[in-house]
Amino acid sequence: MPDFLQFCVSGLTVGAVYALVALGFTIIYNASDVVNFAQGEFVMIGGMTTVFITAAGVPLHFAIPAAILAAMVIGLLLHRLAIEPARGASAVTLIIITIGASIFLRGGAQIVFDKQFHSLPAFSGDTPVMIGGAAVLPQSFWVLGGAAVIVALLWFFFNRTLLGKAVLATAANRLAARLVGINTSFVVGFSFVLSAAIGAIAGILVAPITLTSYDIGALLALKGFAAAMLGGMGNPLGAIVGGLAVGLLEALGAGYISSTYKDAIAFIVILAVLFVLPGGFFGRASTERV
């Protein structure tokens, strides 16, 4: 039983990061139908910037907002310089642009920062808290709490605000969105900035646990993407459930079945779920009709 708890804590913490990356995917996807493969790089930028600013002697509570801001600026630049000029291109073209962007950002980070791994001091110390026999790092609470707050805010944003609806409308039908007066370019840019911020927050929250370096983005993007699809693309709640589920699957798979094939176990479950629910857990029931 304590083992089980330990696995769950581990899975939920890692899963919360996947969930936040998946949320980032969801937001940009909701606005523009684009899967932004540079999403993992926002996580990297958040963590690495914080590391380097604190290393320069700036206290953590100033470094964190600065790092989030840096990620948001880069998100905005990415939209203005790479996505907006390609407006009207097909979704695959835009996806390849984001892949290019992720290579570019990684290449940039390796010059601006370095190629080493780094860690941040945990926000509330390193002494594990014992819960039912499981040793839990205080930082895990920060990660889980942060994810919970962000998803609640996003739920409100998409379901209760007009701008949130405008984001959804832009993805559903760009032409119609323009015809009702939505500044679609602003909406898409906004979504890039927002998901950059979320990615950066994730990167900062987990850096004390998982360490960070210039090239952690690709794997996070991969797992986050899988999580987003498991949950149902476009649904913030799905992103969270999908992320936590992937994290839990990996931890339980590693704990009970085989640590070598734990990623495989996660993907096999994802495949199985998709065969039964082709739209993921919370995918919108198909409204396509002819």
Partner: protein, 314 residues
């Protein structure tokens, strides 16, 4: 001129001309080797392009088939003393079979869900290759025995240049034939509207499966060719990054363009060779160029340039 460019055989003929012409221009074995790598990638990309560009089904797991083909010519001769050529055929057969078996359930998924399913599938193959060291040599890879044909040991960059070049021309020829046939029309139709294609009598599931199997065989043959050329295989050839690379080649060169497949492959193979001299800036520049190309030539290099030429010279 335009009629010539629009001809079905324009792409394979152009590719054949390029293969022949380059052989006289390239100064050293190194260049011949890079060219052979381009031909090999292009072969895999043509197959993937049939799936993505024509039938509109993504696969983020194609490196899995590529890797299986590569390991087939490594493992089968080593473990079962199969002739490498037979191993290549066996690899293609196995990949085709695997694609046939997994294709049916996977291809029921659409868009990004299909992407993630193929991605997961590719990762499963890559993991199996990396972890089953007893068979595959594990993450550090394994050597591939040299190909001998009728007592003649195939070796040397220029020999492989011609062999892989010929494979590519053959692959391109088969691909354009397929596209221009009723089967090709059915594939393009289901890309645009599955329901309309079905109403026209197209067995959509069946055709998706056919093209998935064909593209898996292309990838497998390309993988085998790479393994034979290199004399060594590592799990890199099967991993997710390589899948993404293949997809990028398709889109860069142009979805639905057989000649574009060669262009896309050439860019992603040659560019790193050029950029490596910039050392630390290599990745920065590579990412930048990918973005710029896609922004400027948004339907892919070949289709965009073709459209441009059509516009300027009416």
């Amino acid at each position: 001129m335009r009629a010539l460019l629009a001809h079905r055989l324009a792409a394979p003929v152009a590719i054949a001309l390029i293969v022949v012409a380059l052989a006289f221009v390239l100064p050293s074995n190194f260049y011949l080797r890079v060219a052979a790598l381009v031909w090999i990638s292009a072969l895999a990309v043509i197959g993937l392009n049939l799936l993505m560009g024509f039938a509109g089904q993504v696969s983020l797991g194609h490196a899995g088939f590529f890797g299986l083909g590569a390991y087939a010519v490594a493992v089968l001769p080593a473990q079962f003393s199969l002739h490498p050529l037979l191993a290549l055929l066996a690899g293609a057969l196995v990949c085709g079979l695997i694609a046939f078996v997994v294709g049916r359930p996977i291809l029921r998924l659409k868009g990004h869900y299909l992407a993630v399913a193929t991605l997961g599938f590719g990762i499963l193959i890559a993991m199996a290759i990396a972890n089953e060291s007893w068979l595959t040599g594990g993450p550090d890879g394994m050597p591939v025995s040299r190909l001998t044909l009728f007592g003649w040991r195939v070796r040397g960059a220029s020999t492989w240049y011609w062999i892989t070049g010929a494979l590519l021309v053959l692959g391109a020829w088969l691909a354009v034939n397929l596209v221009a046939s009723p089967t090709g029309r059915a594939l393009r139709a289901l890309h645009d509207s599955e329901v309309a294609a079905r109403v026209a009598g197209v067995d959509v599931a069946h055709y998706k499966l056919i093209v998935f199997v064909i593209s898996a065989v292309y990838a497998s043959v390309a993988g085998s060719a790479l393994a034979l050329v290199n004399g060594f295989v590592t799990p890199d050839s099967a991993n997710f990054i390589h899948s993404i690379e293949l997809v990028t080649m398709v889109v860069l060169g142009g979805m639905g363009s057989v000649f574009g497949s060669l262009v896309g492959a050439a860019i992603l193979v040659v560019l790193p060779q050029v950029l490596t001299t910039f050392h630390d800036y290599e990745h920065l520049l590579l990412g930048l160029m990918m973005m710029v190309i896609m922004i400027v030539l948004r339907s892919g290099i070949v289709p965009s340039l073709a459209a441009l030429i059509r516009r300027t010279r009416p």
